[in-house]
Structures are given as structure tokens and as C-alpha cells.
């Protein structure tokens, strides 16, 4: 066996030396090359245009007489006769090291901050490998974000993937940046890092995040992977993969707790649709390819904790729902993969509630195992269940009031309306730099419940009522 591997190695070096001159066809980001040596599926290639500029690509379809590849950078300037192609004999890798913190890269992982290429400690395949489910460790430690709508109602757990479902013009960037600034696990002094992946967002958005990291003095703990709105859309397909490759290295080689922010996943999905359409694949819903679910899962599942490793990857992907429609394939498939979702409501934003976190559709699936006695506080599980139940009834009362008029409501229903006002105005609402402790959040929750009579509070115990409601 060993002999054969060596032989292959020699062959590979020889063949990576071969250059093919001339493309058969170029169509958007796809190039077609004829009559090559046998090329591997998903193999990396270099396309050298007549001016000598090198662009990277990946093989999507390989046969003996034709290879189809997607080029990650723009194909503008490639000519059919004079473009040269080199196959690299391996898939795309990223050299990773801790030195990448504090630096900015493009989607392919090349520095764009004028600094030198950081010396990689290790080359890693950017596609990662599926984690063996038996090797995972179930995440349980909560993260205090200082934001009541999250900490109290949708607690974030270290190693969770919890996306923000937003809409155009809503303050998702503010919330993502606030989470990144304020997130802490109490009682532990651990090494943390932030990996930020931007796909198709505007320059000022990227600048906003950078400034926010700078202001809180953590910039040297942040690695930025930027593929902005004016970069070729295809580069967006790589950006989250390179970012997650570094995150995995930091979390599982360097024992760091890594927060990965990926924005905007909608742009990523659009790039995927573009390639799929060009390749003439049979679309499923709204023109997105049938494998969108699996493709997104390949990204989102690269989070969590591993048994026997010190670090973790917590993902906060941000996406804008086209038309504010939560049943659109992008939020829908995301919600099917991630461990809950923070959903924004435009109507709350209109009433100047920040963060405009919708009470009912938002959910943290891992919350149940990370809150309560010995973790947050013993009353937390029942308190949040009670707040949800009461708030859900508020929605019913408001609907009823809009039909029969507020005057017609029963005194109890009026109390519910007051509760709703307090809950949205005081509990959910907070300043963009306000950092509440878990106790402050929970106490505020009880303050809201005091607007309601004790008989209405079915989800809390008598002891909890004694301790937090009467007191």
C-alpha cells in the first residue's frame, strides 16, 4: 500500500505541472475544459488568464473528455484560446493558525488588510468532514448575552447554532454586534475568539462590525472573512467554509470558545441558486436546488462541542427573510437545521422596540438543558414558560380588542394588556449598549408577571410565587 501512495504522490506532482491551454466554453462562473488527464471530483484548479492573473476554481463534473469547474472569482477577462489551466490534485485547503486573529481575509482566505500571509500551522480542507455523532458532546453551558429577550426567553448555549431571522432594514447587525461584544460565560475565564464571515454585505456594514469590535477592544481576537457586495457572488460559496475551517482549528486544536457570525446567509443561498440554474439542475422550491438543505446543513452542523475537547463553536448566522416571509425556503430550511431561531418582527421595530424579537416564533431548542438551578436560577424554566403563556394570551386579547373594542374587554383582559405593554416596553426593549445580568433579566420578568393576578400563573410553583411574586 505504501508504495502505491508514493507513486500517486509522484504522479500528482508531475500532473500538477501539466498546464492545459485553452478553454472549451465559459458560462458565467463555469468553465469547460476538454481532454485532460483524469481529474478528481471537487479537485482544486488554477485558471491563469492571458495577463497572468490566477483564479481558483473547483471541479463539479469530471469525465474522461470534459471537466466542468466553477471559478470562485470573476471569469471576466478569461479568453477561450489563451487561458491556461492547472489542476492541483487536491481539494481547496486553508492554512490555519492563531495568527489569523486580528486579521482580514477575502472569501478564499487571502489577506486583504495589506499584511503578510500568516504562516499556516496546518493546511485544512475547507469542506471539513462530518462529525461522528458519538464524538459530540451535548452543549449545556449558557452564554449571558446581556439581552433579556435572549437570556430570559431564548437562552443561548455554548456550542449552539442560533440564527437571527431578520428583514431588510431591521437592526440585525446591531444585535449580532451586541451579542459579540457582550457574550460571556460567567465564572470562567476562558480563551475566546470571534470569526466573522460576511457574504455579499455592503462595505459600511463590514466597517460597522469592525468599528464595534474596535470600540470594545477585542479586534485582535477577531478574524474577518469578507466577501462583500461588489465581490464576485460565487466567492460567497467559499466564505463560510473558510471561516468555519479556522473556527474548527481554534476550537478543537487551541481549545478556544469561538463565536461565528455569518451574515447574510440569504446572499449565500442566492449564489448557490445561481450556479445550480447555470448547470441546468432540476430546481425544487422557488428555483433553489433540491440539495439546499444538505448544503446548509454542511455549514450549520460545523458547530457544537466535541467530547474530550476544551473549545466550542457557537454559530449566529444572520439572514434576511425575502419579503419578511418565514416560510421562504431560506429561513425555512435554516430553521429545520439550526437549534432554534431569533425572529424579528417589523411591527415591533415600527414601535421602536429594540431588539424587535418576536415573542412567539422565537425559540432556543437547547435552552431547556442549560437553565435552572445551578445554571441560571431555579425559577428560570417556569418563569420563561409563564411569560410565554401570558404573552401568547396577550396576542389573543389584542385581536379580540381590535374586533369588539378595548372598552368591552374584561378587567382581567385589561390586566393582560398592561402586562403586554410592560413586557414589550421594559423587558424586551433595551438600549443597544445595555448589558443586563441574568438576575436583572429574571427579576424584570417577575416584575412583568406582577401585572397579573396570582391565580393566572399556572406554570409557576407556589414556592416560586412566594419567593419572587409576593416578595
Amino acid at each position: 500500500m505504501t508504495e502505491k501512495i508514493d507513486l500517486e504522490g509522484v504522479q500528482k506532482t508531475l500532473k500538477t505541472g501539466i498546464e492545459y491551454i485553452g478553454l472549451h466554453r465559459v458560462e458565467g462562473p463555469l468553465v469547460f475544459i476538454r481532454k485532460t488527464h483524469p481529474v478528481g471530483y471537487r479537485e482544486l484548479l488554477q485558471c491563469v488568464d492571458p495577463k497572468g492573473n490566477i483564479r481558483l476554481g473547483m471541479v463539479l463534473d469530471t469525465t474522461a473528455d470534459m471537466v466542468v469547474a466553477q471559478i470562485f472569482e470573476s471569469t471576466t477577462g478569461l479568453t477561450l484560446p489563451d487561458t491556461r489551466v492547472r489542476f492541483m490534485g487536491e481539494s481547496l485547503t486553508l492554512p490555519v493558525s492563531e495568527k489569523m486573529l486580528g486579521r482580514s481575509f477575502n472569501g478564499l482566505g487571502r489577506p486583504i488588510d495589506g499584511g503578510p500571509v500568516p504562516l499556516g500551522m496546518e493546511e485544512r480542507d475547507i469542506n471539513g468532514k462530518p462529525v461522528n455523532p458519538t464524538a459530540r458532546q451535548y452543549p449545556r453551558d449558557y452564554i449571558q448575552t446581556g439581552i433579556s429577550a435572549i437570556d430570559g426567553m431564548n437562552t443561548l448555549i455554548r456550542g449552539q447554532k442560533l440564527p437571527i431571522f431578520s428583514g431588510n432594514g431591521l437592526p440585525h447587525n446591531d444585535l449580532a454586534a451586541q451579542i459579540a461584544r457582550q457574550a460571556k460565560v460567567r465564572g470562567t475565564a476562558t480563551d475566546f475568539a470571534v470569526v466573522f464571515a460576511a457574504m455579499g454585505v455592503k462595505h459600511d456594514v463590514a466597517r460597522y462590525f469592525i468599528r464595534s469590535f474596535e470600540d470594545s477592544g477585542v479586534l485582535e481576537k477577531v478574524a474577518l472573512f469578507l466577501s462583500l457586495a461588489d465581490d464576485p457572488s460565487i466567492e460567497r460559496l467559499l466564505t463560510p467554509r473558510t471561516a468555519l475551517t479556522l473556527a474548527e482549528y481554534l476550537a478543537f486544536e487551541k481549545d478556544m470558545h469561538v463565536l461565528v457570525i455569518m451574515t447574510d446567509m440569504t446572499n449565500y443561498c442566492e449564489a448557490l441558486r445561481e450556479i445550480s440554474t447555470l448547470r441546468g439542475e432540476i430546481p425544487s422550491r422557488k428555483g433553489y436546488p433540491g440539495y439546499l438543505y444538505s448544503d446548509l446543513a454542511e455549514l450549520y452542523e460545523r458547530s457544537g462541542m466535541l467530547a474530550g475537547f476544551g473549545g466550542s463553536i457557537t454559530q449566529v448566522p444572520v439572514l434576511t427573510m425575502p419579503n419578511d416571509d418565514i416560510s421562504h425556503p431560506i429561513p425555512d430550511l435554516t430553521g429545520y437545521i439550526t437549534e432554534g431561531q431569533i425572529v424579528f418582527e417589523r411591527e415591533m421595530h415600527g414601535r421602536n422596540i429594540y431588539p424587535p424579537v418576536a415573542g412567539l416564533p422565537s425559540l432556543s431548542r437547547l435552552m431547556k438543558d442549560g437553565i435552572g438551578e445551578g445554571m441560571t436560577r431555579e425559577d428560570h424554566p417556569h418563569l420563561s414558560a409563564q411569560l410565554f403563556a401570558a404573552y401568547s394570551y396577550v396576542k389573543d386579547v389584542r385581536n379580540l380588542a381590535s374586533v369588539i373594542g378595548e372598552e368591552e374587554l374584561t378587567p382581567l383582559d385589561h390586566q393582560y394588556l398592561e402586562f403586554g405593554e410592560f413586557f414589550e416596553g421594559q423587558f424586551v426593549s433595551q438600549a443597544k449598549n445595555e448589558d443586563r445580568t441574568m438576575e436583572e433579566t429574571l427579576d424584570l420578568g417577575w416584575k412583568a408577571l406582577k401585572k397579573l393576578p396570582a391565580e393566572e400563573l399556572h406554570r409557576v410553583t407556589e414556592e416560586e410565587l412566594m419567593e419572587y411574586y409576593e416578595g
Binding site: T62, P133, E301, G304, G335, I337, Q341, L400
Partner: protein
Amino acid sequence: MSSRIIGQIKRVNGPVIEASGITDAGMMELVHVGELGIVGEVIKLEAGGAIIQVYEDPTGLKPGENVYGTALPLSVELGPGLLGSIYDGIQRPLEEIRNLSGTSIQRGITLPALNREKTWHFVPSPEIPEEVSGGLCLGTVQETKHLLHRVLVPPTLHGRLQYLAEEGEYTVDTVIARLETEGRTAELTMMHAWPIRVSRPVRERLPFNAPLLTGQRVIDTLFPLARGGTVAIPGGFGTGKTMTQHAVAKWCDADIIIYIGCGERGNEMTDVLTSFPDLVDPRTGRSLMERTVLIANTSNMPVSAREASIYTGATMAEYFRDMGYHVALMADSTSRWAEALRELSGRMEEMPAEEGFPAYLPTRIAEFYERAGRMETLGGWEGSLSIIGAVSPPGGDFSEPVTQHTKRFIRCFWGLDRQLANARHYPAISWIESYSEYVEDILPWWEERETGNFVTNRREIMELLHREVRLSQVVKLVGPDALPDSQRFILEVCTLFKNAFLQQNAFDDIDRYSTIEKQARMLDIILSYYRLGSAAIKKGITMVELKRIPALRDIVKMKFTVSNENLDRLDSLAIKLERQLTALEGHHD
């Protein structure tokens, strides 16, 4: 890896590979592709060529690499040692793979599914006829404290028994019996292989006669599943499909659980792996893991193995059924399996039918659910296989193809409701949209038990729930004051029933599981509040007075406060309620 070269790779564009120069490959033959030996299956044969679906990531495969045949169809190993294991979609043991390749799954690993070193204590059956045939029990192995593993003659074999091992310790691949069959000798071990796409034969199908009790009140009381029945749980993301599947896997009264994580989250499998060993089966007092086999082909694992995982699970389930056990199989989610079919079909450039799904989707769904049933096995026992399939409709819209076709082949439907889930009413099983066609089948079972007025109570509460729907529409238009107290009281009782009975907290140590006796008594108390209360209203007592009854607070909390072992406390609650209601009337008179 076998060394029989059957052809070469011609084209790779994903998990579906074209091969050429095919000499003697068989349809559905298990093959190894390329020098890495990636596992695949021949799914189409054409002149000189074949289409192969590979069960591992095809990255790096090149045209010209060899394809190696095994001359066997894709099969699973069946024998002692399955229980408590976790496998991927093509039955590779994930624990062992982890020992070999660390945290991530390396490609090209082939490991036996059943441990070859471990020995089992085999006890031969005392009386065996000379002529034996498929399904006959050759002997037994006490696989776990509670499960007697019956070693059966494989279904398709028959012949004259020439040798049977005596009682002793054997590994699964030791010959324990020899049959002479049509002039040849067949050597039998405690394990055998069975092709996953072929359902195992039985003697005959039997009618349904008993419920599969799940301990979940909304299920057992309102929409029961029969032993051997089929049910679908459709619901948008976050409505509670997985939690319901987990709850049923934990508390249902099956002997064996086969849990398939098909294209879903990795952490959910880890959750099962970490929680099941510490949970105790209320009926046997043993760890739940001892009756469970897990199949994990999570969303980030190869899509073709996701397609296979459903069949792998069904085959294992049938194997235990053949021993005369009641098996429950959970598949979370069948939609991901259907999507895998769609993706593979798309790669083969087949003509799509609805929403890109292949035209044979309904046939495949039907074939899968048909593997369920209550059966008389070849060995003459009664066994059953119940199938509980989650469905994940895009956008939570039940009109999509997978939900619609599934509905044609199941007889029980637990529809999850987004509104209920958003209001944190769990389990969010809609009492309006759900149904069970098994109610009639299992009525005799209920009537035989001493569950009091259960059957009539059940009918009455269903009626009230439907009346509530109409009444709340009126309230939404004109407000509650427009209704007379007798009708508002129905709304009150339904709210009470939802809070005190239908909602069930999977995380509460007492509430997570209710025996059928507890369910019957709880229902009875709620309905006696309704009956006595309605009578009181006729006598002029107001709704407000009825709502102020102190016992009401105990009723709302009885699910948390009264454990399955302490049901007589419900009797005193019933008496207390009656007394307080009569006292009310007394005041009035």
C-alpha cells in the same frame, strides 16, 4: 475489499457515478469505488455501463479508477449485539469508527456491524424437528437482562438439521448448526445477512387488537396508535416532531425501539445517546438503551446513506419482530429521505413529477409503511412492527407531496400545529386536524380493561372540543359576553382540558409519562367538573362562582403532583371537587 474488478469510473458529478466497461455487475450489487474503496450500490445497468450511488463523499474520485464488485446486495448483519448500538445509514458501527478514525468520519472504512470477538451464551432449543425451515428457533441467547434473543433459521432456508451446537459460549460467526438442503450443506451461525430493500417474510398479517401505549395523553386518549400500526407526525420546524418521537421512543410499551435519525441534527442523536442509558424503562426497570438500536445518518452525512438508512432500520425491526417481539420504529424525518430520493433522481436526470420528486415517490413511501403490521411470524409467534414517521413539510404546508402521499398510506395522523407550538402548548398535536383510524380496532381492548367510562368519556371530550371551535369563532366576532353561561362554561372546560390534560411537559419527572389508568382518571375528573358544573349553571349558579372553586387549582396541577404510583390521590381530589360543587348549590338554595 474484494479484488474483482467490474468496470471503471466514467463520470463523477456528485454521489451518483457513471461506470463503463461493466462486465458482470448485478443490479443492486454492493461495490467499492476507486482506490479508497468508497462503498456504493449499483442502481442501474445499461449496455456496458452502470450507474452507482455511493454512500460516502465522492471528493477526489477520478475517471478511469476501478470499480470492485462484491457479488452481494447491500445487506445488514442480524444477530446478537445489535441492541444498544449506534450505526450509520448503511450499518457501520459509529462507536468503532470513532475508535478508529477519531471525531470525524473517515472514508473507505469497512467494519463488521456485529462484534466478532464477543461471545454469547447460546442455549439450544430442547426439541427440534429433523426437518427445519425459516423462522424456526434453533436456540436462544440472553442478549440483555430482559431480552431473550431467539436464534432463528434464516427465512429462506429449509432442510434437514445435521448438527446443532450444544450449550456454550460462541461468537456470532461460529457455526452453531448445519443443514442439509438440496444436496448441499448450509452452515448457520448466530447471525445472518439480509438485503435491506427486501422485506422479511411472515406467515400472515393479523388484525389490530391493542394500542401501542405511549404514556402521552393526547395520543393514548384521543389519537391512539395500534400495535403494528402506522402514523405520521407532520409539522413545521420547531413544532415538536423530534420531541414527540423521543417521548414515544422513551415511554411506549414496545419491546424494541429502532430509532432512525435520518438527515436531522447531530446533537439530537447525541442527546439520545447521553440520555437513554440513564433512563429506566418503567415496565422492566432496565436502562432504555438496552432495548434500543440507533441509526444516525445526520444532515451533514452523505445523502445516499440517508436514503438507505430507512431500509436498514426497517430490516433490523423486522428481524426482532420475527422473534415474536413488539417493535416500534421511529424515522425522523421521512421528508429528508424523500429529499435524498429526489436528489439522487435528479442526478440521474430522471423526469421529475411534483416539486422535483421522482414519479415513484408514492410507491416508495407505500413500500416503507407496508413493512409495518401485526404479524404471525414464520416461527408461529405474534410480533408487530409499528412505524412512526416524522414529516417535515416545507413552510409547514401540509399540501406538499410528501405529506399528501404519506397520508394515503398511514392510518393515524398526529398533525402538529404552529399556533399551538408558538403558544408553547406542547405536545402541539392538533386535536382538530389529527385522527386515528385505529380507535374502532382497539375499542374491545379498552372495554376489557377496567377503565371506567373511558370510552364514553373520550367521545364526550372530543365532542366538546369540536363545539369549542364553533363557539370561539362566535367569541372572536362578538366577544364572550354574547354567549350564555352554559356555553361559556364549555369554553372554560376546554381550556381546563387543554391546560390540565393535553399539555404534557416532556421535561417534568412526573408529567413526562402517564399510565393509561392515570389518563382515564384525569379525564374523568375533568368531565365530572363539566357535568356537575353544567347542572349547577341550570340551577342558577354563575360561571364566576364555578371558576372560583378551590379544587380547580388542584386539577390544573394534578398532572405534576400525582404520580402514576399514587393514583388514589385522584380519588380524594374527585371527592373534594364534588363536595365543593354541591356546597355551591347549597349556598344558592
